[in-house]
């Protein structure tokens, strides 16, 4: 490019720069000091994110489990539909070696990785490659007195099965909420009967610490597909009643006022045992994908809520074979997993099902493939660069194409 006849005013230069991908902006940090500091201002970060949102600059991560090493790793899929979403690069997390963390988010392009078995969590911006390890919670675990056994029981296990990651716009803070299941046993018994207690912990990025909040009556029983946070509120599946009286419900948590609520899932949407109902975030709203539990062909209904009203968005007619949804990519394309754990794609525009050239290693644990979508973002989390302490390792896929 040539030297221009004149200079554009700074505000317009920033306008242009805010439309650049994060990688370019990171490279342009060394153009001059003013640019470097401008890219870190909340105003610029917000404009850049807003542009990514408008242009739907979605990146897809397939989280899976290596069948040989049983390690969790991520495959970043290409954004191009005509490249059949091939794997561009594989991302390993040595920080979570030997663990299988769950992935929550994305919120403003940030993901939260949380180990369900240990007090180990991290917030990650895959666009800027910042990785922040959260401190362990110093919350006291309460004692458990069993009146029947007339003794205090021993704390045998602490699990963090359900969580969510989101943003509190009132305090401009990113928060992680997690449900803690405490298992107590009588250590003197040979085959002790477990007793459970629950706590809820809330982490704030601003204070970089955990605090305890009151536990709701309903506990989450199921996860969502991909992201379980949208528009200030986190969601989980919960339930009530026994088998025949079973009712699926939605537990929600407002990140701003830190309050729980219960929402019903209407009968007409579908319910177990005839149907599986998976919650997900679709086009900026809470939705559910409903599909039959039995049958050789699977058809999918997508429902979306808007201010408490459920509407059916569309239906995908029977797809042959038993398939389970992973989540939506761009343009309404639906990613699916079949019984052999191959990843398939239902193309919304051509209404065709195709197998993607994504090599699935032997996925030992059938339900550990999940799909996560995140928008490019410059949001800072005051973490460290990925490779500085080798918390994240990236390797290009063997057949990655040579593109910028």
């Amino acid at each position: 490019m040539q030297r221009p006849r004149f200079e554009l005013p700074e505000a317009l230069v920033m306008e242009i720069l805010s439309k650049l991908p994060v990688k370019s902006l990171t490279r342009f940090n060394c153009v001059c000091k003013y640019w470097c500091s401008s890219f870190q201002t909340p105003h610029f970060i917000s404009n850049n994110y807003h542009n990514n949102l408008e242009n739907n600059n979605l990146n897809l991560l397939l989280s899976r489990c290596d069948g040989n090493t049983f390690q969790r790793y991520f495959s970043q899929l290409s954004n191009e539909k005509d490249q059949n979403y091939i794997v561009k690069q594989n991302i390993h997390l040595p920080f979570f070696r030997n663990d299988l963390p769950y992935v929550y988010g994305a919120c403003h392009g940030l993901l939260c990785l949380l180990d369900p078995l240990k007090d180990k969590a991290a917030i990650w911006n895959p666009s800027t490659r910042e990785f922040k390890i959260l401190p362990p919670s110093s919350i006291q675990r309460p004692p458990y007195f069993s009146p029947f056994e007339e003794t205090y029981l021993t704390l045998d296990d602490v699990d963090f099965d359900h969580a969510a990651f989101g943003f509190d716009s009132k305090t401009d803070d990113y928060k992680v909420i997690r449900f803690v299941t405490l298992t107590f046993v009588n250590s003197e018994e040979q085959y002790p009967h477990p007793h459970f207690m629950y706590q809820v912990e809330l982490y704030s990025l601003r204070s970089n610490s955990w605090q305890e909040i009151p536990c709701p009556d309903y506990k989450p029983t199921g996860t969502t597909l991909g992201n379980n946070y949208v528009d200030g509120i986190c969601y989980w599946k919960t339930e009530t009643g026994a088998y025949l009286d079973f009712r699926g419900l939605i537990l929600s948590f407002d990140m701003g006022n830190e309050k729980f609520s219960i929402l019903p899932i209407p009968e007409f949407v579908g319910s177990f045992p005839e149907y599986f109902v998976n919650l997900l975030v679709f086009n900026g709203s809470l939705g559910a994908i409903v599909y039959p539990t039995e049958g050789i062909d699977t058809s999918f209904d997508l429902w979306v809520t808007s201010e408490g009203v459920w509407t059916k968005q569309f239906n995908i007619k029977s797809i042959s074979g038993v398939v389970r949804p992973l989540g939506f990519g761009k343009n309404g394309d639906l990613f699916l997993r079949d019984t052999n754990d191959e990843v398939l794609l239902f193309d919304a525009s051509t209404q065709e099902l195709k197998e993607l050239q994504i090599n699935t290693y032997l996925d030992h644990f059938r339900f550990t493939i999940s799909l996560h979508a995140y928008l490019e973002s410059l949001v800072r989390i005051n973490g460290i660069q990925e490779n500085i302490e080798k918390h994240v390792i990236r390797q290009p896929a063997r057949d990655a194409s040579n593109e910028y």
């Binding site: 317009l12 230069v13 439309k19 490279r27 940090n29 001059c32 000091k33 490779n387 910028y404």
Partner: protein, 246 residues
């Protein structure tokens, strides 16, 4: 009849006068404001826009107004194509369009032109960016090196992983290219791929000397074997001097 065929007169910085339909002109929020708050009969001065640029802008506004009103049978994809062709202009004209779209407050045109420039520059190196925007580098050499090191993953570019392209080659010329990857070099001369070799193999060829650009430009160039250097750890420039039979 009525307001749909109302015309507005616009006078540019170089004293050209354009008469346009009101619906087209008020695509500009600035013109709309002046028209609605000023005297609708007199001419509106658009001081900072030249005749050529305004002419182009009015083409854009007309196309978009007609498409939105259904006057023209054009699909969203076709309009997108039209927009893409509209911005195929030289850099100076593009910058003029940006300034004018900003001043006239035509949001969709501003977005389009800014995105076009963004797409043009996204793969560039920092030095090229400084030229494009006439920016003085106020980093010290050490400070700039530190920033580059901190962000080195973002410099994996130019042909992607594994390929490096050398431009403008002829017999006995010095040519340079930039890479921080370890694999192949693709030498192109007269638009033909002359050879593709791994960097280590190139270093063994008699006719090729590989020079590493030192960190400090005042120290003399160091000639060293590419095989030994730990490629991939930083931003380097390779200078190639070789004979090439065409």
């Amino acid at each position: 009849m009525g307001s749909t065929s109302t015309k507005i007169k616009l006078r540019t910085s170089d004293q050209k006068v354009f008469e346009v339909e009101k619906a087209v002109a008020v695509q500009s929020q600035t013109i709309k404001y002046i028209y609605e708050n000023g005297c609708p009969d007199s001419v509106i001065h658009v001081h900072s826009v030249s005749g050529d640029i305004l002419s182009k802008i009015l083409d854009y506004c007309k196309k978009h107004v007609n498409s939105a009103a259904g006057k023209e049978d054009i699909s969203p994809e076709e309009l997108y194509e039209w927009d893409a062709n509209f911005v195929k202009v030289d850099q100076n004209t593009l910058f003029d369009l940006i300034l004018a779209a900003n001043c006239l407050k035509i949001e969709s045109l501003l977005d389009l032109t800014c995105q076009t420039v963004a797409n043009m520059i996204k793969g560039k190196r920092p030095e090229e960016i400084r030229t494009t925007f006439n920016i003085k580098n106020d980093y010290t050499i050490e400070a700039e090196e530190a920033v580059r090191r901190e962000n080195k993953w973002a410099f994996d570019m130019l042909g992607g992983v594994g390929t490096m392209v050398i431009e403008e080659l002829a017999d006995d010329t010095m040519s340079k290219c930039v890479t921080n990857t370890k694999s192949r070099v693709c030498v192109i001369a007269a638009n033909q791929i002359v050879m593709m070799r791994s960097i280590s193999k190139l270093a063994n060829k008699k006719s090729i000397d590989v020079y590493k650009q030192p960190q400090n430009p005042t120290t003399p160039r160091i000639k060293e074997s590419v095989k030994q250097r730990n490629v991939g750890t930083g931003f380097i420039e390779l200078f190639f001097h070789f004979k090439c039979k065409m």
